[in-house]
Symmetry: C2
């Protein structure tokens, strides 16, 4: 069994590579829910949905999120009713069904992990998806203008605002969802997907017990750097790393995650950083990491799974 | 100022007639919210929406509810996720925007009456719409198989189940929405729309203070019988009247509402019931009441407003 710690788009592509090289039913994805939000009364789990839609072959290939061939009747009508203040988070008509289903089931008392499994089954997913926690954890970003929820920061402000601090509201009281610690403990390989180390991997590590479980398996934890050539492939990971006192580089990622990371796969363009990664106590593996095609995602997945045991635990 | 006590489809047609014969801005509609429901986390107010869509000229003319030219992408997708158990209450894509807006605003702390005014303004409505109460009142129907919410009874079971009792959950603690009692007290004419007397007018009367205020204006209260020739023009009013010990006739309506009703407009086909209506202490006016066209709705509105003062108050 392979356990993959996931954010959204980058993780979805990593999983799409992994399912090509191992039995998909042997994959357990532990997914960030710090991005989750409540809008219009609906419970929205962007990272879980991005992974679900991607693995179902239903994702919008242009954006990497949302559904392909989506229609926007509800958003257009909502725009007329409430203006842009109500519609900055775009919910397509068919995507809305996912949130209606999730919200309905949560209101009936189902746990997020149950609903996630039901949605994964409905979409015919071959892998097991687990939210990091059934308890609400919300990533909050401190800025000069006050605190923002993750989606306000990421979508409404298009992450074009300097971040002074990040906190994961609710994390202290959150418990790992059923199966999360078991997956980490029992996996033959643990993959940290190339997701934002601060706001995608960070919330997962903030759930009590998860970082400890990963640290105990550190030699078997292989990460993929989401920073290539000093820049994030997508999103604000590079800027966040710098704003929070780190470095926007594969070495910066290694240092940030060195407590749980035995090995970091870095891109060919960052080969010169291998020594610096290793000086953080993390084995470096150099290969092509940009998953611009399914074939490249497959080759990256092979490289990740072929990684020898990394720097020892704890 | 004219105050109209409203259910859904029949009331919407009555209002569409009234706006043809008086200044629309002089009309205050007090609308049943006992039909309101929460589905998928969304707050849905069917009667308010039916009236809004009708007066905006946006209603689906075939059903009398929902929006014309609606699309159903969200429901189709939800059907695939959750089956018929999730989709018996049909929410069109553009209609969903209304519920998203309402739910979002309620979550922000707005009162239903505020949200209703905002939606009415967004739809360009010329009349003033008031929910009967900002507090939740829910019509519950007792059946041999247990209690059903109004929408379960009306939509899911297509009202094809015998009703043994009706109660209005929350009514005791509900307060009339701001403006409701004032509208009743200050109106020059008060109209009880041809809505179901049990489950559309009944919840409004169950809000403490409303029936008392109407009774005090009884001579000026003119109802239109929703029962024509012994049958409801729409919905289960005829069966409900019988099941709850009354009579499915204009006379049965008069007896049920005699406490608040000075005058009842009954259809030509029920002319023979005029004496029976009057023996219930309610003045009877006979005219065409079937609003099958806008012109007929207009003529009925004229007849209602031309009604002389009815049987005296209290």
């Amino acid at each position: 069994m392979i356990c993959v710690v996931c954010g959204g788009v980058g993780a979805a592509r990593m999983l799409a590579g992994l399912v090509q090289v191992v039995d998909p039913s042997s994959i357990v994805a532990v997914v960030n829910t710090g991005d989750d939000t409540e809008l219009h009364g609906l419970s929205i789990s962007p990272d879980l949905d991005t992974i679900t839609y991607t693995l179902a072959g239903a994702v919008n290939p242009e954006t990497g999120w949302g559904l392909a061939g989506e229609s926007w009747q509800a958003m257009s009508a909502l725009e007329r009713l409430g203006g842009a203040d109500r519609t900055w988070f775009r919910l397509g008509d068919r995507d809305l069904a996912t949130h209606l289903y999730r919200t309905g089931r949560l209101r009936e008392g189902a746990a997020l992990s149950e609903v996630t499994a039901e949605l994964a089954a409905a979409f015919g997913l071959p892998v097991r998806l687990l939210p990091m926690s059934d308890d609400p954890v919300r990533t909050v970003l401190g800025t000069a203008g006050g605190e923002l929820s993750f989606q306000e920061y990421f979508v409404k402000h298009r992450h074009a605002v300097a971040v002074q601090a990040v906190r994961f509201e609710g994390a202290e009281a959150a418990r790992p969802a059923p199966g999360v610690l078991e997956a980490i403990e029992q996996a033959t390989a643990i993959v940290l997907a190339p997701s934002n180390p601060v706001v995608s991997i960070g919330p997962v590590l903030a759930v009590p017990g998860v970082a400890e479980a990963l640290a105990a398996r550190r030699a078997d934890v292989v990460g993929v750097s989401p920073i290539v050539g000093g820049a994030a492939l997508k999103g604000p990971a590079d800027r966040l790393l710098v704003e929070l006192g780190g470095e926007a580089s594969a070495a910066g990622v290694a240092r940030l995650l060195s407590g749980v990371l035995g090995t970091l796969v870095i891109d060919e363009v960052d080969r010169h950083l291998a020594v610096e990664v290793e000086s953080a106590g993390v084995r470096a593996i150099v290969t092509d990491t940009v998953m611009s095609t399914p074939a490249r995602a497959r080759r990256l997945a092979e490289a990740v799974l072929a990684a020898p045991a990394g720097a020892g635990g704890g």
